[in-house]
């Protein structure tokens, strides 16, 4: 039974029920690779959850599962009570990709990029309505690009292009926003600006936000709760901060050497090297976790 911070909230944003995913064998010599194992937690609506984990820890797999692009090998996932693929089809999930692989030589404007996302949920033969146009304008306004709306995307800076991608992600008024390694290679000031932008969207659109990263700072800039994923979900409920010992367990190497003396707000990260913490402090966290022991 998921415990939730808001007992009266009608429905969790995401329910992940004992989910495992194993990439299938390929050829004669690539064995099946388990990516995540027995992950079990619930994300309440309107929370901003950070999922921290090392490269190869299963973060991208978890995102694909939540988006419904792949199906769990075992277990089930519900997004707002729907199968993930259904929720995605219904425009409930907004997605910001890890790397912007969009073709910058493509001859389109910011407005058109956002409009194309809007059109994904319109019948192809139907024109975009005034309502669609209003949604497009609002999304562009929320990322503060209205002055450039008709500009070709080829002329934008990297930061501006990312804001276009955020506008595209919210074009269909999603209820869940999934951010995949959003601030890789961005300096701290940039990460903080990104965090402020996501905070604005979170408030304006009442979004549930999931941010996935290997970078503690990227998580800190956005999330107000943290879970750690390294094949299995380790912990995310303790008031004492995410200690180096805990991080070392997740990243499987000396964390101090990597993170230095990074300051972590106590409310933000939850050290859970002792799984019992998870149970003690479930109420501190928007997400209930039961896969810790696995």
């Amino acid at each position: 039974m998921p415990l939730s911070e808001h007992p009266l909230s009608p429905q969790p944003a995401v329910e992940i029920d004992h989910v495992s995913y194993t990439y299938p064998a390929r050829g004669f010599d690539v064995l099946p690779v388990p990516a995540i194992e027995n992950v079990h937690f619930t994300i309440d609506q309107s929370t901003k959850l950070g999922i921290l984990g090392p490269n190869g820890g299963g973060k991208s797999t978890l995102i694909k599962l939540i988006l419904g692009i792949i199906k769990p090998t075992t277990g089930t996932i519900r997004v707002f009570g729907q199968a993930p693929a259904q929720a995605r089809q219904n425009g409930l999930i907004g997605y910001l990709p890890q790397r912007i692989e969009a073709d910058r030589s493509c001859p389109i404007s910011i407005e058109q990029v956002v409009g194309l996302a809007r059109a994904c949920h319109t019948k192809p033969w139907k024109k975009l309505t005034q309502g669609d146009q209003a949604a497009i304008d609002r999304a562009i306004e929320l990322v503060d690009l209205q002055a450039l709306a008709t500009h070709p995307i080829g002329a934008l800076s990297g930061g501006q292009l990312q804001r276009v991608m955020i506008a595209r992600a919210i074009a269909n008024n999603p209820k869940l926003l999934v951010l995949d390694e959003p601030t890789v290679g961005v300096d701290i000031a940039g990460q903080q600006r990104f965090g402020q932008l996501i905070e604005t969207l979170h408030k304006e659109l009442d979004l549930t936000v999931i941010v996935v990263s290997h970078d503690m700072r990227a998580i800190a800039a956005v999330a107000d709760r943290v879970a750690c994923l390294s094949r299995s979900l380790h912990f995310h409920a303790a008031p004492d901060g995410l200690t180096p010992a805990v991080l070392a367990q997740v990243f499987a190497h000396d964390v101090a050497g990597v993170f230095g003396d990074i300051h972590i707000d106590a409310h933000l990260a939850d050290g859970c090297d002792d799984p019992s913490h998870a149970h003690q402090h479930q109420h501190d966290c928007g997400c209930d976790e039961k896969g810790a022991e696995s």
């Binding site: 425009g91 990709p97 073709d103 493509c106 389109i108 404007s109 194309l116 059109a119 949920h121 192809p124």
Partner: protein, 287 residues
């Protein structure tokens, strides 16, 4: 000149279609997939010949077209599937499908010829082998009559209509394929659909420019147009203008000077591309 009317109209409509598709081909870097498909069509012609389906009669022409279209579509989907197994890299897939189909085509040509050497009626219908191969490799649009031209025109218009119909989805796919699935569309579905349209378009363009040069008509106009503008509507407008203008000018020069039409059109469009390249790098030009 009147004899050429069906050829000219068919060539202009096919070029118009090429102009619209080529923008997507260039954005999605499908130029060599186009080459792969067009060369694969050669295998389809070989199969048609072995089956005794010749383009010397109307029914034969339709039958041959059907077989070549089917073979090209299979080749396109095969390239797409192989590309996926090679982690999105198309070069190996094209290398395999192009070579295998060309080799199959040449072997089947020989099989068909030796088969008909012993067959009096078949030999009478059979066109001269070398002439036929040349026609398939480089095209022979001027021989087109009204019935054949009508087929090409109808197919070209159907392709244009489908592209117009799903233009926003195609554009999304062309702009950012890796996220297409996350937005509720199917990247695989859109890729396969576009490659099927491309295969059909290439078989139509083959009638003008043959196996070797058909893909050029589905690359050059878009590549040229993208040198001229960074905005959607102008790019498509320029692309179609360059495609149709290049085809008209190429045909005019070809007919006047008795040059082979397909290569002359491709050459004309290539010169236009070079001119746009010069325009792109002219200082002081605003995009």
């Amino acid at each position: 000149m009147n004899d050429f009317a069906p050829a000219i109209i068919a060539a202009l409509v096919i070029s118009l279609m090429g102009g619209a598709l080529s923008v997507f081909v260039v954005l999605k870097r499908l130029a060599f997939i186009g080459q792969g498909i067009s060369h694969a069509a050669f295998g389809g012609v070989g199969i048609a010949l072995v089956l005794g389906v010749y383009s010397s009669t109307m029914m034969g022409a339709i039958g041959q077209l059907g077989i070549v279209v089917a073979f090209s579509i299979l080749a396109a989907l095969w390239i797409a599937a192989l590309t996926r197994t090679h982690h999105g890299r198309a070069d190996t897939a094209i290398g395999v499908v192009l070579s295998a189909s060309m080799a199959l085509g040449f072997v089947l040509f020989t099989v068909a010829e030796s088969g008909h050497a012993h067959d009096e009626t078949g030999a009478a219908e059979h066109q001269d082998g070398h002439h036929l191969i040349e026609e398939i490799l480089f095209g022979n649009i001027l021989d087109t009559d009204w019935p054949r031209a009508s087929i090409a025109i109808v197919v070209a218009i159907v392709i244009l209509a489908i592209v117009w119909f799903i233009r926003r989805r195609l554009l999304f796919w062309a702009f950012d394929e890796p996220v297409v699935d996350a937005f509720g569309l199917s990247a695989k579905g859109l890729t396969n659909l576009f490659l099927v349209l491309l295969a059909l378009a290439i078989v139509m363009a083959m009638q003008i420019a043959g196996v070797v040069l058909a893909a050029a008509m589905l690359v050059l106009p878009g590549a040229a147009a993208l040198n001229l503008s960074a905005r959607l509507k102008p790019v498509f407008m320029y692309s179609i203008l360059i495609a149709v203008g290049g085809a008209a000018l190429g045909m005019f020069i070809g007919i006047e000077r008795s040059y082979p039409i397909g290569p002359t059109i491709v050459l004309t469009q290539s010169v236009m591309y070079l001119v746009t390249l010069a325009a792109k790098f002219t200082p002081g030009r605003s995009s």
